[in-house]
């Protein structure tokens, strides 16, 4: 820990509009950062990553902490806390709710926001949002824009996330299967080694129309387009899936999980949903 760093007290700005927050950020760059719940930044700070000289708090901005149901989508303000959203039936019943219930612990979920979970880059909500075809509403300094979640990391230029737009057309049902699964290093209150999610619809010919996504360790969230294309073929096989999936996803080794482990485990998790097989192992004792 750099002792000197942690004792610097930043200037805290509390803007009331998106535009003001953006202007402050631009004014003080590079010595500025936005903060919402601050739960992740608290962990980083403990590890020695000091706050910027100007911390711009987003939680007082009007409209960022509310949820509105529009005709085609639900607009979720970026500063809504995970716990607030878990309490919303429209969110809670979907895999996004499941993803949020699996994040950290109650104290963190009470402070942490969906915007923060998205913008820190590896949040567990990301694969669920990608699978659900969510879009991000952003302010880029001049206008509001809408971008797919998976394009946030590659967006050209600075933006402030203002809301998540969750399509209402996509409801899980008998035909439409949604799933979210997370592996951490223990059952709860753990950063994920891997979070996988998918929305799919099985076709009559054995093919599967699917949107598949994952986030793992320090990897950026990934939409699995080759794996999706693979299962869209009638007669696809697990072997073909593994091959396509490995082309999508080449995870690297990290201190607490190897890339190979994340690759294998993710493939198994996807297949457990996509592959219909009456030979699935049903518990029981191993017989040598």
């Amino acid at each position: 820990m750099d002792a000197a760093q942690t004792t610097v007290t930043p200037v805290v700005w509390i803007p009331e509009t998106v535009q003001e927050a953006f202007a402050l950020y631009q004014e003080f760059l590079p010595d500025a950062e936005w903060i919402a719940g601050g739960t992740w930044r608290q962990v980083e700070r403990e590890k020695g990553k000091a706050f910027a000289g100007n911390v711009i708090v987003l939680e007082r901005i009007f409209g960022l902490a509310s949820l509105q149901e529009e005709e085609k989508y639900v607009r979720v303000g970026a500063c809504m806390t995970l716990e607030q959203l878990i309490q919303e039936a429209v969110i809670s019943r979907e895999i996004l709710g499941e993803a949020m219930r699996r994040i950290a612990a109650p104290a963190v979920r009470t402070r942490g926001t969906i915007g923060g979970n998205i913008m820190y880059g590896h949040g567990d909500t990301l694969p669920a949002l990608i699978a659900l075809q969510a879009e991000l509403e952003i302010w880029n300094g001049e206008s509001y824009d809408r971008i797919p979640v998976e394009e946030a990391a590659s967006y050209d230029g600075v933006f402030l996330l203002t809301a998540v737009l969750l399509p209402k057309t996509l409801e899980a049902g008998p035909e439409e299967v949604h799933f979210f699964e997370k592996i951490g290093r223990r059952e709860a209150f753990t950063a994920s080694l891997l979070a996988v999610s998918g929305c799919f619809c099985r076709q009559g010919d054995g093919s599967v129309r699917a949107r598949l996504a994952l986030v793992g360790g320090k990897d950026a969230p990934l939409r699995l387009r080759q794996a999706e294309a693979c299962v869209a073929e009638p007669g696809w096989t697990p072997e073909a899936f593994f091959e396509a999936f490995a082309a999508d996803y080449q995870p690297e080794d990290e201190p607490f999980s190897s890339g190979n482990y994340r690759l294998q485990a993710a493939a198994h998790l996807f297949l457990s949903h996509l592959w219909l097989d009456d030979k699935a192992e049903k518990g029981g004792v191993h017989k040598a």
């Binding site: 590890k47 223990r186 950063a191 999980s257 294998q264 493939a267 198994h268 192992e281």
Partner: protein, 758 residues
Amino acid sequence: MKQPEYQRRPDAAPKVTGALKYLTDRFEENMLIGKVLRSEYPHARIKKIDTSAAEALPGIHAVLTHHDVPGLNRFGIVTPDQPVFCEDRVRYTGDAVAAVAAESAEAADQALAAVIVEYEPLPVLDSVEKALDPEAELLHEAGNILHEAYYTRGNLQEGFAGCTSIVEETYQLPRQMHGYMETEGGVVVPEKDGGISVYMATQHGFKDRFQLSRILDAPEEKIRIISSPIGGSFGGKDELNLQPYGALLALKAGLPVRVHNTREESVRAGLKRHPMAITMRTGADENGRVLAHETTIYADTGAYATLGPAILEFAVEHASGLYPIPNIATTGVSVFTNNGVAGEFRGFGGNQVTFALEGQMDRLAERLGMEGAELRAKNMRKPSDAGPLGQEIAPTDGGRMILEDVTAWQQLPLSNAGETPWVKNGRGGAVSMHGGGLGYGRLDPSGGRLALTKEGKLEAAFGFEECGQGIAAVIETVMKDTFSCHEEDIEITIGDTNKVPVSGSTTASRGTGMVWTAVENMKDSFRRQLLAEASRVTATAAADLYLGAGGVHKIGTEPSLFLSYKALAEYVQEGDIETHTAFDFPVTPDEIDSGHYLYSFGGVSAEVEVNLLTGTVRVLDLKQSVSAGPVMYPQGYRGQIEGGGIMALGYTLMEDAVMDEGRYQTENFDTYLMPGVKDLPDNVTVKPREEVMEGDIHGPRGVGEIGTIAVAPAIAEAIYQAIGARPHKLPVSREWVLQQIQQRGLLPWNKPEKIPGG
């Protein structure tokens, strides 16, 4: 008197309401903040230390280095080899180089940053292999081997010659962290007489006093250690930690100084469980009689000794556990490295070696085509058998009793067989034997004091510490049992060297037994004194009086309370009614160094659920049978066994303080993971087997450690039963489990040759 299963422990209310002030919460007027500068390198020469800039900063009252230690610049309970402040060399990143006392934490941080230390990095010996390389730099004058320990009996070669089945395996055990909630620290107050009061947690106040007196070059009487209550220890606060720095800074500054490790500092400087590599070769004849057992233990003890030698000896002693195998050769080597210091930790070397031993029994049973329980029963010790080092021990049938329970539990149906896809369940069992007390040849005194205070309380004074384990509740229960009094009649005095008698350390599962024995020793005299005084002041025949709730009662009167303790206290001077006892922890009469005399036994049955997709292992059911004599305080007993079981579950499945080139990679609880509530088994059973042999006079054995010992091998066997692969390395990683699942083709699409990288 049988105790109810649940009763409120004396420290419960202040703990659960948060009202309790721990020693690290203490505040003194004009108190300074002390901080310690620790080494930047795991191994380096110190070329220069310059504190002048730090001293010149505002608000700084003291800056100390090795030049400022008036006495011995070393600490270590048995062998003082750890520098208080390093002079010319650092051997791990927890080594202290300087310390400051300042008016604020910020000023202290700035002063630490201003201390200039020039290092010349040296090759980092971050493994036992590197440290034992003949070319390796010597970490200590006597070399890189801290200690070697051996035990042999019979003839190993002949033993193996008679075996039809032999199994061999090397077991790898991780560096577990105690993970107490309260990190090390407290306040040191300089007193008017030139002495100091040290308000800091320890497991042995008098030992801290001794060590500090050696460092400060001050008489022990000038040092008062106030050491309870403690927010968890598990062995980790047995050795000195921040006491020397707090004491030296307070004396230099002439003001009270608070020192308190951050979690990161605690991880870096604190003790851990010894990582060990244990190779065992074990053989049996065709009837399943184990004839030969060879063990080699390499322990990574880190940079300094603390109790490393004793822990190694404990592991060597317990290498054959409950099985009186005729031919044994055990070798233990404890090796200095530039890793974090390993030392005292609940189980004390028994956890590591029992994982290996019980793993051998399961492997051997499979080779013989036998159930594990059957092989264990065939080889189980008899009540009159000698101890594992051939020493005479207190006769006990504990091993048979706990194995009986484990064997029965193995027959229970699996909880969700055939219901959930993608999981396989398995159940495993294991047993253990654990010596209490410090062992033959080691000073292991105990004692206590009972007195009537001037306020009319029955004071029970012991030199034990309350670190959450419940010794205060044990003392209260034993007192209530013995004198038929109420809890409000009792005053417990612990954790202050100025007020308590010598009772020895609060370690080695010894507290409960020593409290019981002390009260047994004192009860007749104390009762007699109370009744005699009551008889005198009331002019009533002592024979008509007896002790009960609130005071002295009289036969045949209603209400029977005749003279309250409060009233009695008014008639006597303080000290008039007081009795003492001093004795040693029972040891074997045989002159066998480190050999124990009193043993407890623990049997474990674990059911796991293995997720075939991810390799995740969940423990669904954890049952423990414990033979440790009569239960004193049922709730505390249960707490120790359940808590110990969960600690061991963490050891088995997730805990490892990973080091890379002598630096911790797990600096806080975000990366060093311990079980959370969702990792706990759905079902936990604790079954005390209280029976002791006829004529046994030793009362309760402590249960602070036994619940942690046999859990890992039981879970490992359960994993084997689920997926057919035997873990030999802890923690059992999800990655390893998944590899085994894939290699065995346990998933329908899981043909190993078809999986990229599989």
